[in-house]
Each structure stands twice: as C-alpha cells, then as structure tokens.
Symmetry: D2
Subunit: 360 residues, 4 copies
Amino acid sequence: MSNTFGTLFRITTFGESHGPGIGVILDGCPAGLAVEAADIQAALDRRRPGQSDLTTPRKEADQVEIQSGIFGGYTTGTPISLYIRNQDQASHDYSHIEHAYRPSHADYTYDQKYGRRDYRGGGRSSARETAARVAAGAIADKLLAQYGIVVRSYVSQVGAIAVPVGYEQLDLNLIDSNTVRCPHPETAERMTDLIRQVRDRHDTVGGLVTGVVTGVPAGLGEPVFDKLHAELGRAMLSINAVKGFEYGSGFAGTLLFGSEHNDAFYTDEAGAVRTRTNHSGGIQGGISNGQDIYFRVAFKPVATILQPQQTLNDQNEEIMLAGRGRHDPCVLPRAVPIVDAMTSLVLADMLLRARANKVK
Amino acid sequence: MSNTFGTLFRITTFGESHGPGIGVILDGCPAGLAVEAADIQAALDRRRPGQSDLTTPRKEADQVEIQSGIFGGYTTGTPISLYIRNQDQASHDYSHIEHAYRPSHADYTYDQKYGRRDYRGGGRSSARETAARVAAGAIADKLLAQYGIVVRSYVSQVGAIAVPVGYEQLDLNLIDSNTVRCPHPETAERMTDLIRQVRDRHDTVGGLVTGVVTGVPAGLGEPVFDKLHAELGRAMLSINAVKGFEYGSGFAGTLLFGSEHNDAFYTDEAGAVRTRTNHSGGIQGGISNGQDIYFRVAFKPVATILQPQQTLNDQNEEIMLAGRGRHDPCVLPRAVPIVDAMTSLVLADMLLRARANKVK
Amino acid sequence: MSNTFGTLFRITTFGESHGPGIGVILDGCPAGLAVEAADIQAALDRRRPGQSDLTTPRKEADQVEIQSGIFGGYTTGTPISLYIRNQDQASHDYSHIEHAYRPSHADYTYDQKYGRRDYRGGGRSSARETAARVAAGAIADKLLAQYGIVVRSYVSQVGAIAVPVGYEQLDLNLIDSNTVRCPHPETAERMTDLIRQVRDRHDTVGGLVTGVVTGVPAGLGEPVFDKLHAELGRAMLSINAVKGFEYGSGFAGTLLFGSEHNDAFYTDEAGAVRTRTNHSGGIQGGISNGQDIYFRVAFKPVATILQPQQTLNDQNEEIMLAGRGRHDPCVLPRAVPIVDAMTSLVLADMLLRARANKVK
Amino acid sequence: MSNTFGTLFRITTFGESHGPGIGVILDGCPAGLAVEAADIQAALDRRRPGQSDLTTPRKEADQVEIQSGIFGGYTTGTPISLYIRNQDQASHDYSHIEHAYRPSHADYTYDQKYGRRDYRGGGRSSARETAARVAAGAIADKLLAQYGIVVRSYVSQVGAIAVPVGYEQLDLNLIDSNTVRCPHPETAERMTDLIRQVRDRHDTVGGLVTGVVTGVPAGLGEPVFDKLHAELGRAMLSINAVKGFEYGSGFAGTLLFGSEHNDAFYTDEAGAVRTRTNHSGGIQGGISNGQDIYFRVAFKPVATILQPQQTLNDQNEEIMLAGRGRHDPCVLPRAVPIVDAMTSLVLADMLLRARANKVK
C-alpha cells in the first residue's frame, strides 16, 4: 500500500522507468467534475523531459490515456485510470549498472530490501514515477478550482542563487515565462547560467522550490497526526531527491522570540479575519486559518553525474562507474509541476475529509 | 482516523488537556515483548512538566495505567491501552480564553473547523496529547531494542545558540546530563542561560532537535509514498510547534554539487558495506542503507507568552489578551522525548512492514 | 489495526474479559452531536449480563465513563473515549483452563497465533469485548437519528422455533416487551421455554437475529468492495459466535427465477420511487435504494457447556474438561443490542463517506 | 478507496464494462515470486464469457497485459499492473437503457449516489469488473502455493438441484470436468439441463458455490474485526449477485445444541492436533485452526432477463423494458473462478499480516 497516497481523494501509482509504461488510479474523485485529457496533458507537458536545454534531452511525449472513470466529459465517481506509455523504453543498454550500485541512488537499498530489482533506468525508483502523480494532480487541481483554491510553486533557489524577495512580492504569473520556472526574471537568468555551467562540466546542482496556496478556506487539515502541514511535508518528502521541508517561518522562525513570531489577529475592511504577519504559513494547529499557505522544499543535486565515481558492485567489489546517457543537470525546473501536483492532491483530500467535520 | 498513526504498529491517541485524562491504544504490537509500567513511566518522566526550572512549574505526575494487552509481563498481541489521568485538571479558570482567540494557537481554527471547542488549556490542541505518544513510544523502543536499533535525540540549538559540531563528534550518553538535554556541556550552559533570560522577560524561544538512529538494518522504509524519511518527516511535523524537518544534508545540501554530495560506497575491514560520507542520512530511495539515520526538527517559540497581545474574540472584536498561569519558556528540553517516541514509532512500524517484502 | 472498524466513523476497541476494563475510542464522530452518558448506558444495559433468567447471572454493572471528546454536552470532533471497568474481575479461578483448550473456543488458535494468551475468561476473545461496540454504537445511533434512520433487530429464531411471519408484519416496538427480545409474543414464550430447558440440562442453543433499517436515503454504500451489504456482513461476522449472514431474499432467493426475483420499480401516491417487492433488501449494486434494509444473522450455540467434554491441553494430551461458573445458555437475547450497534456503526460510516460522492 | 481490497496484499481495480478496458493494481506482493502471464491467463479463461453454451455467447478474449511489477519472470515488490482491453466495446446500442432503470440492477442507485452513470452495459456496476479480481487472484494463488495452501470452489446448487454430499466426499479434481463446474457428475448433468431450460424460456436461475481451502496453517486471521471468516464473508458479499455467506455449520448449525456442535480436539497418529468434527469450518475466534476451511456463497438469479418488465425511467415515468443482447442465464459456472480469486486474495493478505504476530 506504500504506493497509495491520500485518504478519500486517493491515488495509487504503478510502473517502472523502462517497462511498458507508468500510470495511476485515482479513487475517490467526486462525480460531476468536468475533465478532459487536455487538462491532464497540459500538466504533463510541464514535467516532460526534453522541454528545454536545462533538462535531459531525452524524448518522451508522455501522452496520457484515460482508461476509466470519465464518461461524457465528466467524472462518474468511479476510479479514474490514467496511463502513459514509455516510448524511450527499449532503446538503451543498462548492462553497466545491472550489477553496480550507483552512489546515492536506490540500487543498493532496493537489492537489500527486495533481493532483486529492475535496474533499467532505476526501475521503480526513477523519478519517472512522478509523471503519474502530475497526471492525477491535474484532476485534483480542477476540483480545487471549484472552490477558488489556487496552487502554485516556483524555483526560489538554485545552488547559492536565490530569489531576493518573498513570494508576496512576486508576480506568480511569470513562473512559466522562463525555462527555469523562477518568476524573478533577473534571478532566473543567473540560475539558467549556473545550470548550463554545471551541465557543461558534467556535474549537477540542487536548490529550493517554494509552494504557495491561495484561496484556502479556514478549517482544512485533520488534527492530530494528519495536520495539513504534516501531510504536505510527507507529500513533498516523498518526491525523489527531496531532503527537507519547512512551512511558514520554518527553520528561520527558530531564531525569533515568541513576542516576535506570534501572528496578531485583526479584521480587515471587509470584516474578514486576518493576521498582521503570517509566520504560521496559513496553518495553526494543523488546520488552515484562511491566510496564504506557503512552504519551501529542498532538492539535493541529481545523483547521476557523467563523471567516474568509486562505488561497489553487487559482489561488494570496488569499481569505478560513470553515468551514461542523458540526464538532468538540475531537477528544479521539472520539479515545479510535481510540487504543484502533490500540493493539489493533499488539499483535495483535505477538502473532502473536512465534509465530515460537522453533524450537518 | 486523524488520531491514528502507523500501519502495522499503530497508535490512536485521545484526551484533552483538562478533561479526565489522556491515553493511547497501541494496536499491532507483536506478542512476546516484555513490558513493564516502569519502562513507560521512565519515558513519561522525561516529558513531564515541572521537571526543572526551564519548564513549566505545572505539576503533573503523569502516572501511566496499563489497561489491557499485557499479561504476565509480556505483550499478548492484543491492543495495549495506556491511560494517564489529568491531575491538574479542575484547578484553573479559563474564562478569559473561552471566547478569545490566542495568537498563533489553534483556538480560531478549531472553531472554524468544528463550530465549537474545549477551550480549557487548549483542549485537544494542547501538547499534553504528546504524553500519550511518549507512552506508546516507550513500547516501540523496547521492540527496536530486540533488533539493536537505538533511537536518540538532543537539543542542538536554542534561539541562535547552536552546538558547534555534528552528532558523530558528541557523546550522546550526555544528553540527560543537563536539564536542557544538550550533550555539549558548554553549549548546554549557554542555552540554559538564554532560556532563563527569556523566561524572566515573559517571552519564549524556539530551536532545533537533532535525531539520530543507529543500528538500523538496510531495507527499512516503503517506497513510493511511505519512504522512511517521509514518514519520519510527517511524524515530526505532527508534533506541536514544529515548523520544519530535514534529514541528512538537508537544506544545506542544496548548496553542494552532485560530485560533492554523492556518498561513495566501500567495504570496511569487516567487509560491511559503508559510505565514505553520509549526506544521504542513512536513507536512499526512501529505504535505509545501514548507515546512521540523522535529521533535524525546527520548533517555533511557544505561542503562549505572559505579555499582552492584540487579538480577536469569537465575535471578531479586537481585544487585548495576555497569557496566564504556568507555561514553558522553551519546549526544546521536553520535546526530546517526544521526538524519540515518534522516531521509535515510525521505525517499529517499518520493521514490521518489512517482514512482507519477500516471498519467504 | 484489526481492532479498528470503520473508515470515517471509526472505532478501536481494547480490553480483556478479566483485565482492569474494556473500552473504545471513537474517532471521526462529527462535532455538534448532543451526547450524554445516559444515552450510552441505556444501550449497555440491554447487553448487560444478569438482566434476566435467560442470561448468565454474572453481575456486571457495565457503567460507562466518558474520558474525552464530549464537552458541554456536545461532541467536539475529537476522539471519544469510553471506558467500562470490569467489576467481576478478580473473583474467579481460571487455573482449570490455563493449559486446556476449550472445544470450539479460541484458546488453541490464540496460542498458535501469538504463542501466549490471557486465559482468564477467554481474555480478548471473550464476547465481553462487544460491550465496547455497543457503547460506540449508541453514539452512531444518535447521529443516524438526525437523518431519520432507525436501526432495529430482534430474535427471529431460537433452535428450531422461528417467528412465522416477516418483519413487516411485526410491531417492532414489542422487541423489548419480553426478555428474549422477540416481537412475536407467542413465539417469544416458546423460545423462552426452550432456553430454560436447555439451560437446565446444562446445554446451549443458537438461533437467528433479524436486522431491519428504515429511513435510509438512497445512495449509501460504496462500490466496489465496500458495498453496503458487504460491510454489514463483515460487521455481523465479526461478532462472536456468528456463522452466517444473508440480506434481502438471501439463501432462499437462490430458489427463485429471475422473473420472480426482480423488484419492479414504481412511484407511489406521494411520487416516491418504490419497488413492488423487496428481494433486494433495500440494496442494489451495494448502494441503498431507499427501501427497507433487512438481513439475518446466524448464531451458533454457545461453546461453553457445563458438561464434561474431551479435549487437549497445551501439551497435546487428551483431557476431560467441563465448563464452570456462570454462562449464557443462549446468546440471542443479548446479541440484539450488538447487532444494532454494528448496524448503526456501518450506516454512520457510510453516511459520512457519501458526503464525498459529488463535487458540490 | 472503496475500489481497494486488502491490507498488505492489496488490490485496486478500475474500469467499466464498455470503456477502453479494465484492470487492477496489486500492491504489496512480496518480491521473488515467479509469475508468468500464462498463470494469469489460465484463471481468466475460466471466467471468460463464451466458454460454453451455459454462459453468455458474448466474445471477449480477456487477454491480460502485465504493465509493471514483474521483471525477469519474478515479482520485484513494486506494484503489479494488469490490464485487459475490452474488445466487445463499441459494438452495442445502449440507448434503450440510457434513461431507464433496469429492475434489480444498480442503474437507479448509481444515479442517486453520483448524479450520473456510464449506462453502457452497466458501466462500473457490471460483473466484468471481477475479471480484474481473477487476474490478481491468480498471483495470490501462486503465493499460497509456496505454503501448500490450496483454494478450490465449485457449484454445489443450481436452483433447487443440489449436490447430495459434502465436499469431503467429492473428488475436487473433477470441478472442471464439466461446464457447470460441479464435481458431482450426475448432479452436474441435471444442473446443465436446468440452466438450458431456463435459458430457453428467457429466464435466469441462481444457486450456491461452495469454497474449500486446505493446507492452511493454524494462526491466520486477525481478531477482532478482521476475523478470517469476516474477511472471507466481506469478500464474497462484494461479488455481484451474492446475497448470503455462511461458513462451517452455518445457518444449519443454529439447529444444533452446544453439546452437538462443539468440535472435540484430539491428536492423530502423526501427533497433529485435529478436531473430530469440523462445525467450526477451520476457524475458531476468527483464526484458522489448521483444519479445512469451507463456506457457502448464495448467488441470486441474474437480474437481466430477456422478458418485458415494468419499471421507471429517470423521469420517474413507468415504462416497459426487456433485456437485450447476450447474457448469462446462470452466473454460477463463471462465479467459481471469482470465488477462488477472492478467497486467495484474503488468504494471501492474512498470510502476510500474520508475519507481524510475534516479536521474532
């Protein structure tokens, strides 16, 4: 069941990097939601390899097929099956890693856990699995749209190059105005240069994605263990290469005193309840308070580098191994739609769960 | 079900801060584990209020009662019910917050979600709930001991005062040698001074807890969504006042290049598989690789401060409100046993789940 | 987790027959439901031992204590903990079954599964555990009442003595008018005589309970696996001594042809959709259709008889064993409130789950 | 999540009768199990339409495609996706039921629940969904074979024609020796004649399937709610057209007295623990005791009959409706592999769950 995520709005993904294909079953999507393949394809195209010179040049059309659950243009309440065939499948030679353990990859741990593994392109441990999440996330996003909830994320740091201002000072409509998906144009250019340099010296670089959710009504999130930020954190940490998660004031908030950190409540002109600061990140006691939700996700540099590295084979013999083929020098640009998808999936689930909070 | 945590080794907690008591049902603990009330009490005593001048002077004996699941000194495989009566219960006047929303507390969000709340001492949103987790964690810890797995955590930062070295350069046996639970004596003293200053000016301060798990066999953790670090992150983020989680190289790792970040495999003298560095934090692809697991948890400063603050009442009228009674100026020292407990609960669950990985 | 039942309206029970007590945590009850201890006690009193000469004379007050989740007379949305102390606890000598396997009891299977067991009065396998279900069921019943859903069950057969007519020809208000809980007075008398005869010859007898649910709106029940009747069946089969479940036309329906079995739809004077017959038992495709739901549950004769029987001890040596103490000659009268409780729990859960069926 | 079955060995099915196809994701199958498409196809061929003159002549090859989870002939521990394309898909005209509610079908209830439905051939409510279960069940069966557990079921009654002896007096190797799947040749012939008569008068008939599981070790099944027979019952009741379930002595057992019903323990020549009778059906307290497990499942007559019936349309207007096309006059022969599959799925799940019963 470790391949299932969500309680009421629930996905189960399957597929290996170089098997016939990957896919997802979305169970629990309410009936009556208008969904077209084009909605899903648009999300997949943002994650697709080969979309720019900053990503792997590998070609995958990532065409989605809807196999069930949608009839006459609307969801029917039955499981929605989305399938993406692997095109780039047969074409490679993976014999060099059949018996080798790539450093900081999952080859060794899968072998230890299962006694065998599909070694082709990382098999199940490949980030290709996230395409299935993005497909399902597009449907979650359509559900959230019915409630005015908007989910967006962007690249806020690559290596040491960071956006100098907070999300509220950015025009998030600019996220897709450049290939690195950073809505701060000058910073986006510097990030792009860095990624190209790193790529050219056969190395990789990490960074941060910032997520922002607006229009969230107060009351989403289930205490005690399924706090809204705990589910968001788990969702982000389940994405390949993620090493950390923080929301609201996050790690920096530990440097403030309580008198500085507390968010004072007030009512705005419209009589709406607001807070003067938002160190809480829109979540108090694990439940949304109606303010913006924001968080940051740390991605490590991609483990596959086109340089020789010392490692072991499955006989525990020391060998030298270098990555081959076409890989991303930086996952951040393609990570944005994945962060969007996981955020939407968590919120859609919490939206449905909240319907059981009161007697009527 | 949001009050349940774990898949096979599973806890459900209940109780409010000032109701009759709090407790936990542990379902799924294997039969044949020797457990005494004293084992559980020892863990509770580390979390107990009034244990030092750095914590709330509130008096709670936190005596645990075993109501089921243990017979003749051993677990029987049936649910283990642990109950802790609230002693300090009736004694307070909470009328000042019956209709007021304390800044950065869960009063407002609970009202929005449920339409009502037990306002006495925060009710269900009080960190008192974590005593139930600590009680169950003590049993998880006994299970892990059967496998040589050792879970420890300590206070690594308070405000801006941080332990200057990594966990591997510390003697973790010194954690309980001081009341702040920092195994670096000089730093512990400076942390203690800071907490006292903050307390005396009626303010609060946050910080970091570092968790370390040794003796973990390779193969624990369930891809894709239930990655070991994702479950640890979710567990930590479910603890009151936590704002962030990172494991291994964490956020700092985003500043390294892939060629610097990758952990090279080698075999030690004993022929065991090791990595030369451990930026992976003992987890690769969501599965333990046999190296030490370590992570950091960010705690915000306690929201209850004994100073007047501007806020709203449940009529949305602006009011001034000051905390009353006895509160912790810094939760870090008492957070250590909670982090220990949640870590042990995650590992015990993963230990049992891993038994289903192979055909035989 | 095998001690948890339900998805959104969810109970977890704990406790052994002769431990300190038994209890239940109800997680997921919506906030705002008026609940008093008296509501729960009334249900427990129907299941209580010693209530008539047809049941065990064992004395248990079964006084319920509410430990959490209810504040100011209303549910708060937090877990509701209900606890029942065992009074009759210490008083017995169970040494005769410490090492013996009672025929058709769970002594042998618990030993095989767990390697040890609490042998006092059957420990966890005792039907005493069902008191916890009845307590939680009383709260489910209050939720259903908000929607006009009424759950009732009665004893329809004891041994070979059966009620000669269907439920629709009975006045179900007469269920508690006699101690056997059969709303057909003449049959109730004959059942009573049979139970007394059986009791006097130190034997036991089984029978059937018929359950009826009225006022159920169309649309409850979740295909494919969580069909309403599948959940009801599972719930009933989880009750001690139950050997079979059928709903609507049940086993007898297999003797009809399709042309006889199909329920023709029509609209009544009020314009409501009805069926001319109800072989479907109010459920079609696993979803309620608005007609009455009815089903039958088969209970075997109690395994504990006060006669010597041949069996084995835990050394696999053949021994003679006779039941001691005070036992029920027939569980049917006390099974009625248990069937009621499990039915209410299933419907309350389905009621909440159905809230997620449509987009808005 | 209502389309998911199982806890550790877990399936999620998807697909509609006349959509692109149907399928299943099996998550939690242990790594290292040898599985070929042929193993799965053999099971599907037993359920396939058009296999004999007793079933619908509709042509569906039901060719299975393995999309993930199996590499080099062995399971890898990752999700196994099995897909079956619908061939007979486009070819029909379903306009006559687009707005009509077929009696005793799920058309009306799906509309009430979801506000819309895929009306083509019943859409999701069609028994075609069970092909996905059969495919997954074939893999469960291979896992059970590793432990010597053998699952078999057969048609024990059609209409009023019943096998006159118990399963232990039958040669279960004869199950597939006739098209009705009854191992009692004379009875099989009479059943066949009845089904042909019923078919020729455009009617349908129901009956019983008896399930038998041998080689089950003692200790499978999880008290309290997940009793082995409760999970089997739920599994059977989730199959289309099932109206009842009983195990061991079942409903007939209610006519016995305790002194007749109890199963006396003894040890056989080999020193194995046995019971002299098996009214318990191999399950005591919800846990297997090592004796044969047997149960009976009641199937109603198929609701689709080729005769005009009175019913309503979605405007609640009374109309006459007659079934069209090609349907099964009796589902029993094709139900056998479905009962086998659900039985194997329950046992495989319990086998894995039991691994967590003891500390080591």
